[in-house]
């Protein structure tokens, strides 16, 4: 009989080892899934994890994509991780991402065809505010009425999607677009173009912001009293109250920061890689970022690495779709599987395994 004995403190070695173990287990289980779909498991895994970076023909295109895809994932996951640490569960980042993009793009489109350098910074600012405001809905309902923030933030994603459909078919539709849904192209309009900062790397303003967010979160969590309060509230809400932490302010702070970062990710996406507001410009980064946050152990540096890895599965997934005809949904299931394995092996961080009966 195997028993679990609680550890006095989470094991540091296992904290680092479990994500790696989870990735390996996911590769094995994913390989089995690909084999069940009639694909060569080894070739599939190599196409997803190796070819995007080192394939002589495709790497030139897909390497810059790594930062393009990792940027929004890291940016959103950093925000979410602060809340997850404190026990504030914002799972509606996808909605905040959409509303941030709508707010920022709407501001820029209202100013069209004005040619001014400050339009892009203004749009970015309004984008962050949009995401922040959308996240304030669950935050205020939570602090005022104790309404569950998990359900409210998630339900608001569907509201945001309806809003997006309305905007791209109506108010924000490109008047010169020949009746097609979707806004003007913001990436090709000089004042709002979120251009590549260093040619050929995929590094745009959003990626830079994501790196800055990683540093800021690291400083906050290790050097700032508010970061200490966050961690305390997550580990022991009662102790946190004795230490003078106000739970309501913590909720507002966590949801506000994660909403603003998700909004930023949204506006950087529509002014850069996506290029325009359209019904399906959002590709689920807000949900995948939840996996990134957990895979990175809610630690800024871990999230940076996890974001890059998850971006790799996106690009590798597209490549595998192209080369091997692997269905897109298989990658989605693969990413979900990763979170499962991570949660499963996490038991090793907090418990020791003991064989035999109770001593």
């Amino acid at each position: 009989m195997i028993r679990l004995v609680p550890r006095a403190e989470p094991s540091t070695a296992w904290t680092i080892a479990t994500p790696i173990l989870a990735v390996l287990l996911t590769m094995i289980a994913g390989g089995l899934m690909f084999a069940a779909l009639g694909k060569d498991p080894f070739e599939s895994i190599r196409t997803i994890f190796w070819d995007p970076l080192f394939h002589p023909q495709f790497a030139g295109y897909s390497r810059p994509q790594l930062l393009v895809k990792a940027g929004p994932l890291i940016l959103i996951a950093i925000g979410l991780s602060l809340g997850f640490r404190a026990g504030v569960w914002n799972i509606g980042a996808e909605g905040q991402y959409i509303v941030g993009a709508l707010a920022g793009a709407g501001t820029a489109l209202a100013l069209y065809p004005l040619e001014a350098w400050w339009i892009f910074p203004l749009a970015v600012l309004i984008g962050a505010l949009g995401g922040w405001a959308w996240a304030m809905i669950p935050a205020l309902l939570k602090t005022r009425f104790r309404t569950n923030e998990i359900l409210v933030s998630l339900l608001l994603v569907y509201v945001a999607e309806a809003l997006l459909a309305s905007m791209s078919l109506g108010l924000m539709r490109n008047p010169e677009g020949g009746g097609f849904p979707g806004s003007r192209n913001l990436a090709r309009w000089e004042p709002t173009a979120n251009a590549e900062l260093i040619g050929g790397t995929g590094m745009h303003w959003g990626v830079l912001t994501a790196f800055l967010a990683v540093i800021a979160a690291y400083v906050l969590l290790t050097r700032h009293i508010r970061g200490f309060h966050l961690r305390l509230a997550g580990q022991s809400p009662r102790a946190a109250r004795f230490a003078g932490v106000e739970p309501n302010r913590l909720v507002i702070f966590c949801l506000g920061v994660s909403g603003a970062l998700a909004g930023l990710a949204g506006i950087f996406e529509v002014t850069g890689p996506a290029g325009q507001i359209s019904i399906d410009f959002n590709v689920g980064y807000g949900f995948t970022a939840i996996i990134v946050a957990f895979l990175g152990r809610l630690h800024p540096v871990g999230i940076l690495l996890a974001g890059l890895l998850m971006a790799l599965t996106y690009i590798g997934g597209e490549l595998a779709q192209l080369m091997l005809g692997l269905p897109a949904a298989a990658i989605q299931a693969f990413q979900g599987m990763l979170l499962f394995f991570l949660l499963a092996v996490d038991v090793l961080t907090n418990y020791r395994l003991r064989l035999g009966a109770v001593a």
Binding site: F145, V159, A329
Partner: protein, 307 residues
């Protein structure tokens, strides 16, 4: 408003409410045992495609529903093993279940896009169905509508009137005390989780086999989350779940009818309305205190037997 027939509307309400009613009554039992499974959406969509696939392959909707229950329960088993044996965080594991379920269902569903499922026959209740008004509203549906209603009564009866229900509630209210009395906390919870998964699977299959009826990716569109909200709304009472699901079903059927009738309200606002109303209801309910609401005391807390 003239384009809306109230009798048809009421009949559609029963059909429109059933998926959420099934999922919510299952989740009620899970939460009564002290477990918070946020993966209802994932289990529903897995049930939707499993039921659809089985029904198409065998030509039998009944077998389809059985397959859906099995599919939902299989996913729930994953949740059960992770949270009960490996003591993982219930919130995170529930989310993982939803993310994985959405991917898995899309993967299985690829072969079934554009396929029509075998029709589910209406139950012929003879003279009852021929009654004016009531006959069409209440007695002219498929068997799953009546199964869902029977489940509500059965869950109420088991929770309130039987020893098994008492044990389940004891485990949910105070797992340490229940453990000290010699009840197998983990096994009771695992059984509740499996029941919840099977019910969510049935709810999903009701969407893909009867309500819509076809398979599209992500077709549950938040129904699982709304089911979770309805459990809160009900105050953890089976008949409260029935009222909540039917109220909600009424709203969503009405907004679809208003859209079809071309009422001068923006379509987007109408399609947002089910989610906005759910949020509103949550706010109203949660401003009361947790204990007055009847939330199980051990809800969402991990249980690890030390002795």
């Amino acid at each position: 408003m003239s384009g809306i027939d109230p009798i048809l509307l009421l009949a559609a309400l029963m059909v429109g409410s059933t998926p959420i009613l099934l999922a919510a009554i299952g989740e009620l039992v899970v939460e009564k045992s002290g477990v918070l499974n946020l993966g209802v959406e994932g289990m529903m969509i897995t049930g939707a495609i499993c039921g659809f696939a089985v029904a198409v392959e065998t030509g039998s909707p009944t077998l389809g529903f059985l397959g859906a229950a099995a599919g939902g329960a299989a996913l729930a088993l994953l949740f059960g093993v992770l949270t009960q044996f490996l003591l993982s965080n219930q919130v995170a594991t529930g989310l993982a279940l939803t993310l994985f379920g959405l991917g898995l269902s899309a993967l299985i569903g690829q072969a079934y896009i554009g396929v029509r499922p075998p029709p589910t026959p209406r139950v012929d209740l003879g003279p009852l169905t021929d009654l004016p008004v009531v006959g069409r509203v209440i007695f002219g549906h498929d068997f799953m509508v009546y199964v869902s209603l029977a489940l509500v009564v059965a869950v109420w009866w088991i929770l309130r009137r039987t020893r098994a229900g008492l044990i389940l509630r004891a485990v949910g209210e105070n797992h340490d005390a229940a453990h000290a009395l010699g009840y197998r906390v983990v096994l009771v919870r695992l059984a509740a989780i499996l029941f919840g998964g099977a019910c969510a699977g049935l709810g999903g299959a009701y969407l893909s086999l009867i309500r819509v009826p076809q398979w599209t990716e992500g077709m549950t569109a938040g129904a699982g989350w709304i089911a979770l909200a309805i459990v809160v709304f009900s105050g953890w009472r089976p008949f409260g779940v029935l009222v909540g699901a039917y109220l909600f079903g009424g709203v969503s059927v009405l907004q679809l009818n208003l859209q079809a009738a071309g009422v001068a309200v923006p379509v987007e606002l109408l399609s947002m309305s089910p989610y906005l109303i759910t949020i509103l209801v949550l706010v109203v309910m949660s401003s009361r205190s947790r204990t007055a609401l009847g939330a199980p005391a051990s809800l969402g807390k991990a249980f690890h037997a030390t002795t």
